[in-house]
């Protein structure tokens, strides 16, 4: 009998093994506090205008700090007159408003440290604020034009941010604010009747309200009549003991004048977030933020994935605003569009204080800067990490790695990094090489490094519980492991390594120890990774954390972290701390410090300071290829610029056409890695047949030629926080047609526009060219054919050829792109190569571009060791028939904006790095869209240059077709020096 039962299980498995396991993860109705939060919202909707928030400011308690920087006030809930909440509102010097609310003198403490992990520093408070206290409100007007206003109304409590009198952000406008105070279980039980909540019984709004009507409970109109999952909660076979009882937080955040919202990654959905409430919502469940290892996730879903960034941008043709909700616990977010001009959101978090940052904008660019000032800009990566990464679960041996490298070299396909997944390690004890398959790890890494390449090796957060594992032994001895709900001993869960424990990176005692593990030389104090070198960088996977036998494939929420906080309080930050400390460890293992590369799967607000992320275990399907782009865009606008998805799809065996298209997608993502599941066939690009192989070789080489563009874009983001990949609405915030576009995007400020093809059998693609309010930029050149496409005053769609070997890639008129066109085996071998400049003229005959270069590996750029050049093309005089193309130093002009980290006061153009590349020249200049055939081309004051002119359309014309092309042969001008080339036509 029994064996038949098993057979049943087995057949079930075979059917389901290729699908998202919805039953592993909670829906809102399976989560007590989300159920309560949605029920609250339903009751409010039912009550309509009679609904009034029970929360109000105690006017007598308003206290403005002596420096006018902030004010505090007591807040009461009419439901619980004995409980006091404290409200604090501050305005930062960049106009960001921080709103905090916590319970005062409660039975326990709400988790209040989330912001401290996300913020780079305590923000500076504005000195220009004058709070005006009225009887019913406190307000402050500020901003350069004194057009921004913060208004805190007392009864009921309502906080709003206005610009020019129009409401931008409104808190508690719908009265859904509810901070569940800590209460005593016994007392609570004696007061109420049988808890009515039953697992799976969805709290249907209407029913709840009816219950309310019958109820004697005076608070039922607001809280509902039952203590739904207050003290214990069961999901599947797991029971959450909830020792602190209910402590959830609900708040509505409305954008009365913004119809489109972006952000709150990571979800597999469109960039402009579809609604979850209202009439016929796209998704029935709210967006969820609870870092999760989701097996074979769906390509369109609000289900939470590996990382969480509680940042939302609300956008309209007038203004853009944003909020950052510094919460680390599980959070559900309902989004509804009451009209196409306004948006309502409802945030329901399991624990923690209210700590909201309101970013006033008013442009997407301003939001990025405001958010970057809070949580930091993306770190400048090592230059090699922008190359191509070749990964697979798993390269099975050191000889396997060598032969993969050999094949790349034989095919002359560039690659910078070879990756090792978990099977390099003995019994999944990370750091510990399996010496049967990797007997010579250092020699292997050296063989890879000999061609200027690196290796990335996986280190996951679960430590195998065995006496033979020094990492576990040391962590155990230091008592820095996460504890079970009892708060005693070590939490034990199941992961790759079998029975495992997890380092608690919230514990400062773990930090130095973790760094010590990565040293490549022997330490007296303990174990270190001597079988490693500086060419080994790190991949942090499974850091949600993923626990195979835990609730929702993660840790029990009642596990205990440092400081006695429960796992539920800190869950969404957990993954960031792991990659943060790995990042520090890799940076500091060598002296002088080298820029580390750390890839993380789990992330939180602030993770951009520690490296790259990828979209996790995607599927080899067209849908996943397409949604991967949207996910990367969404992560980018929330700070995680260094992002990408697995080329080829992690699961499955993509057919050659799909693989080629996926390489085209990957080559235009900041992080470009091919990866594959252990069950898949090998699919390294050299294994493809022609013509696919040749196409992929060209794609890889294209990426390498454009590395200077990518690196220059990264410089910008490290200073400004502007994303590397810029969706249409970021580039053209006033063009409504572009708000929903999330399948084409621009790369930094370079002027490159890419529309990756993500459909089978495509021969054409449609690209949207925006209305341009700034200037007459609206000519776009096909990157490869120089075909000129013209925009229209209201924007227009163009159809372009997109056969398998063709990539819809355009240069916006007005751009100058620095590229390096000589194929090499790796990016580090391009260091001596000359540059090519592509000058794509705008309609008015101008162009602009930048180039940033440094040694790509150390932190010497923070000491001024770099070059930052500006290239311009413009008429020598307004009516002249001469184009001057010039190169100027930009760093001397703006030393404080040159690099992230240290704001330089001066810049020395003759620094050591600049000297090291002083003989690197521009070997070719291509000018697209010139008005006519030149009569002379020469370096100013020098001899005539050699050039070739192919007639075609001028930038200033209105006709479409191949543009004119001037190709200047080897002007022998130096890339780090000032020069001028004059084209007479």
């Amino acid at each position: 009998m029994r064996s038949w039962t098993f057979l049943g299980v087995l057949s079930l498995l075979l059917v389901e093994s290729s699908a998202f396991k919805a039953h592993d993860f909670k829906t809102c109705s399976q989560s007590g506090f989300c159920r309560r939060g949605r029920a609250l919202s339903a009751r409010a909707k039912e009550a309509r205008s009679s609904w009034k928030s029970p929360y109000s400011v105690d006017a007598s308690s308003v206290a403005i700090s002596s420096d006018q920087a902030s004010f505090t006030a007591g807040v009461k809930s009419s439901l619980y007159p004995d409980i006091t909440f404290g409200l604090e509102v501050r305005v930062h010097d960049d106009g960001v408003v921080r709103v905090r609310m916590d319970e005062i003198g409660g039975l326990k403490k709400h988790y209040d440290e989330a912001a401290s992990w996300a913020l780079i520093a305590e923000p500076n408070i504005s000195r220009d604020i004058q709070w005006k206290t009225g009887k019913k409100e406190v307000r402050a007007v500020y901003g350069d034009k004194k057009d921004i206003e913060v208004l805190v109304e007392f009864a009921p409590l309502r906080v709003s941010l206005l610009r020019s009198g129009r409401e931008q952000i409104v808190l508690n406008g719908q009265g859904l604010l509810h901070m569940e105070h800590f209460r005593n279980k016994a007392a609570a039980e004696s007061k109420t009747e049988e808890p009515a909540a039953v697992e799976g019984e969805v709290a249907n709004g209407a029913e709840e309200v009816q219950t309310v009507i019958k109820s004697e409970n005076p608070r039922a109109w607001f809280e509902g009549d039952s203590e739904d999952a207050y003290w214990e909660e069961t999901f599947s076979s797991w029971t959450d003991s909830k020792p602190k009882g209910p402590e959830s937080l609900s708040i509505d955040i409305n954008f009365p004048n913004h119809g489109t919202v972006y952000g709150i990654p990571q979800h597999a959905t469109r960039l402009a977030l579809p609604s979850t409430t209202g009439d016929s919502p796209t998704f029935s469940d709210p967006y969820r933020l609870w870092n999760s290892d989701v097996f074979e996730y769906l390509a369109s879903s609000p289900v939470s994935l590996y990382g969480s960034i509680p940042v939302l941008h609300a956008h309209s043709t007038d203004t853009t605003v944003g909020i950052f909700d510094a919460v680390a616990s599980e959070t559900w977010i309902d989004i509804g569009h009451v009209s196409d001009k306004s948006t309502e959101t409802h945030w329901i978090s399991e624990s923690g204080i209210l700590d909201l940052f309101l970013m006033p904008g008013p442009t997407p660019e301003a939001i990025f800067k405001q958010y970057a000032r809070l949580t930091g800009t993306p770190v400048l990566p090592a230059a090699w990490s922008l190359g191509y990464h070749q990964c697979r679960w798993n390269y099975v041996s050191s000889d396997d790695v060598r032969s993969v490298q050999k094949r790349f070299d034989e095919e002359d396909m560039p690659v910078d990094v070879f990756w090792l997944d978990i099977e390099y390690s003995e019994d999944h004890k990370y750091f510990m090489w399996n010496d049967k398959t990797f007997p010579d790890p250092v020699e292997m890494v050296n063989d890879v490094a000999a061609v200027g390449r690196k290796m990335v090796v996986i280190v996951d957060p679960h430590l195998k519980r065995t006496s033979e594992y020094p990492a576990y032994q040391e962590a155990s001895k230091l008592e820095v492991l996460v504890k079970p709900p009892s708060g005693q001993g070590e939490y034990e869960g199941w992961c790759w390594s079998g029975s495992s424990s997890w380092t608690d990176f919230f514990n400062p005692a773990a930090w130095d120890w973790w760094k010590s593990l990565f040293k490549t030389y022997p330490l007296e104090s303990g174990w270190s990774w001597t079988k490693s070198t500086d060419a080994v960088h790190i991949w942090n996977d499974m850091n949600e954390p993923s626990v195979f036998n835990g609730p929702e494939i993660s840790m029990p929420r009642d596990n205990i972290h440092y400081g006695g906080w429960e796992h539920r309080d800190v869950h969404n930050i957990n993954g960031m701390l792991f990659s943060n400390h790995t990042y520090q460890a890799v940076a500091e293992r060598s002296d002088p410090r080298q820029r580390p590369f750390v890839l993380t799967r789990s992330f939180y607000a602030g993770s951009q300071r520690f490296g790259a992320m990828w979209t996790g275990d995607n599927l080899g399907t067209w849908e996943h290829m397409a949604v991967g782009i949207k996910m990367v865009l969404s992560n980018s606008i929330a700070g995680m610029s260094f992002a990408g998805s697995d080329v080829g799809g992690f699961f499955g065996n993509p057919e050659p056409e799909m693989l080629v298209r996926w390489y085209q997608v990957g080559a235009f993502a900041p992080f470009f890695r091919a990866h594959a599941h252990i069950d898949t066939k090998r699919r390294e690009p050299y294994l493809l047949d022609e013509p696919y192989k040749g196409i992929v070789r060209d794609i890889l080489r294209l990426r390498y030629t454009q590395l200077p563009v990518w690196y220059t874009a990264f410089r910008e983001t490290t200073v400004t926080g502007l994303p590397i990949l810029r969706p249409q609405y970021v580039m053209f915030p006033k063009d409504k047609n572009g708000f929903d576009i999330d399948d084409q995007y621009y790369i930094g400020s370079s002027g490159l526009l890419i529309k990756p093809v993500t459909t089978k059998d495509a021969t054409e693609a449609t690209v949207y060219i925006a209305e341009d309010q700034v200037s007459c930029f609206t000519v776009y050149y096909d990157y490869f054919t120089h075909h000129a496409y013209r925009g229209a005053s209201k924007g227009k769609e163009i159809t372009v050829p997109a056969a398998l070997h063709q990539i819809p890639l355009f240069v916006r008129g007005g751009s100058i792109l620095p590229t390096r066109e000589r194929p090499r085996r790796s990016s580090t071998l391009m260091k001596h190569d000359p540059f090519t400049l592509r000058v794509a003229l705008s309609k008015t005959g101008t162009a602009h571009g930048e180039l940033y270069l440094d040694d790509g590996e150390t932190y010497s750029h923070e000491k001024g060791q770099f070059i930052w050049r500006q290239f311009t093309a413009e008429k020598t005089a307004k009516k002249s028939k001469a184009l001057r193309i010039s190169s100027r130093d930009l760093a001397t002009e703006k030393p404080s904006e040159a690099v992230d980290g240290v704001a330089l006061t001066t810049f020395n153009p003759a620094n050591e790095f600049a000297k090291s590349i002083e003989d690197i020249r521009v070997e070719k200049i291509v000018v697209v869209g010139l008005n006519g055939k030149p009569s002379s081309v020469r370096v100013e004051g020098g001899a005539e240059l050699v050039w070739e002119y192919t007639p075609g359309h001028a930038a200033s014309e209105k006709k479409e077709g191949v543009a004119s092309l001037l190709s200047i042969k080897d002007p022998k001008v130096l890339v780090a020096k000032d020069w001028d080339i004059v084209v007479q036509y």
Binding site: R2, F6, A450, V451, S497, D679, R822
Partner: protein, 552 residues
Amino acid sequence: MIPWLLLLPLSSPVLVAAAAVDKTFGVGPDAIAKYTPLKSGNWKCLDGSKEIPWEFVNDDSCDCPDGSDEPGTGACPNTNFYCKNEGHIGLYIPSSRVKDGLCEVECCDGSDERPGVCPNLCKEIGEAYRKKRDEERKIQKTGSKIRSSYITFAHKEKKRLEASIETLTQEIEVKEKEVARLRDIAERTESLSQAALEHKQQSPLYKSLIDHSNALKSLRREHFKHLEREKALGDILTALRTGYNPNYQDMAVLEAVRGWEELAGLPHINDVGKDTTEETTAKEEEEAKEEEGEKEEPEEGMWDAGRLEHGLDVLLNTDYTSLLLEHEEHIQSPSEDSIIYDLTAYLPDSLIPQYEAVKETLVSWLRMLGVIRGEDNTAADSSRAHQALTDAETNLATMKNEKKTAEEDVAEIFDVEGFGAEGEWKKLDGLCLEKNTGDYTYEVCLFEEAKQKPNNGGTTFSLGRFDSWNPSPDVKAGSPEYYSKQVYKHGTRCWNGPERNVVLLLTCGTENALLTIQELEKCEYQFTGTTPALCLPLDGEKGNGNGKKDEL
């Protein structure tokens, strides 16, 4: 395209300073003649597409669409650079290696880098190369001697097989005659006894026996079905247990594994990974046996499992007709064996017809006299005659089969797609090579089967049976490349995966040995090994092949 406009000669000192590379730099000896200027002072790109000034050749700026104007600078992609490598072997490297700052071994003279970057190491590298090549040649020489012994073996084997075919042909001829004779006898005896036998077969005992037999056969068939099903389930679950993909993170799978372990008395797999650590298996098995021992004693006379397995076959193969006759004999007074049948065995063929006539008379006499019970013995005779015929026929078939196999073997020995044109692989037919990798011992019996045998107990998996030599359409049957790869296919299917396969990569070596085993992707194994069968004689080598093949 508009040709290059040369408005001014390239005489500016600034411009000339950097470029002063010899125009033939990086050109191989085969193409050097093509690098001369035309009378016009121009030069034609090698693809003929364009004329450029001679000065543009090797000026570190790409002008020709085919890149031929930059043989020495690497300025044009997808071209080649010739390293002279004096003191070693000159060769081409891809342009992507030129001036990349690395000193490649391939370009030991360092000519691909800027002057002063790379030392000329051709002397050392050349020496090391020659030393290595000499060693390889030594191995090849020794190996080729062994190989020629394989060829000799193949020829001997061919002779042996041919001789054996000869003998078999003769024997078959004799045997065929004998079968004919026996068939004749059997037919005669059978016609005599058929009616009597049918009568006897009406016996209730016989009928019941046949019923029992049929029931037993049916039961056994059902039993086998169940055994097969159980084994299949066991295999599935064992494969699940050792091979399930932990990434699915499915607790239902874990439960299935745990349940199976309990049911099958297997130890816990301690790790989620695929590595099986089954140190405790032996102990567990013992325990399992003990448990079995404790089971209820069977009733007296009942068969145990072992006897069932073997005894049942014997029982079911009983010739019930013979048994019926024996039974008759046994029940009747003990009587001598019939001499009538025996006689026929000794009579010359020519006398048999006469004998048969006499026999009938004789038998009727004897029956009248009450010496024999008539049909009884004639029936037994019939059965025996039939048996003799069957035996002889089987024997004949075996011989024919042997002959056929031998003939096929002879054909295969020198088959290009079989044991090689020279038969050099025949010697290795069925030779088993092993490699212990710690957890497993891998075995390949050449031209037969590859296996994975766990060292610490557990199931042995077939990794596939010999399928073909190198199947690549680009590789010519009979070429050394063809024989350097064997494919074994259709091994045990992986759970949720493909059938296991092996690619065996062989190189010349003095021994037949497996060197490495890698599972490059799930259930796709790559074995490497050496064999003297691939060591071609040094003298037989084609002159041009060597230099290229032995690139560093």
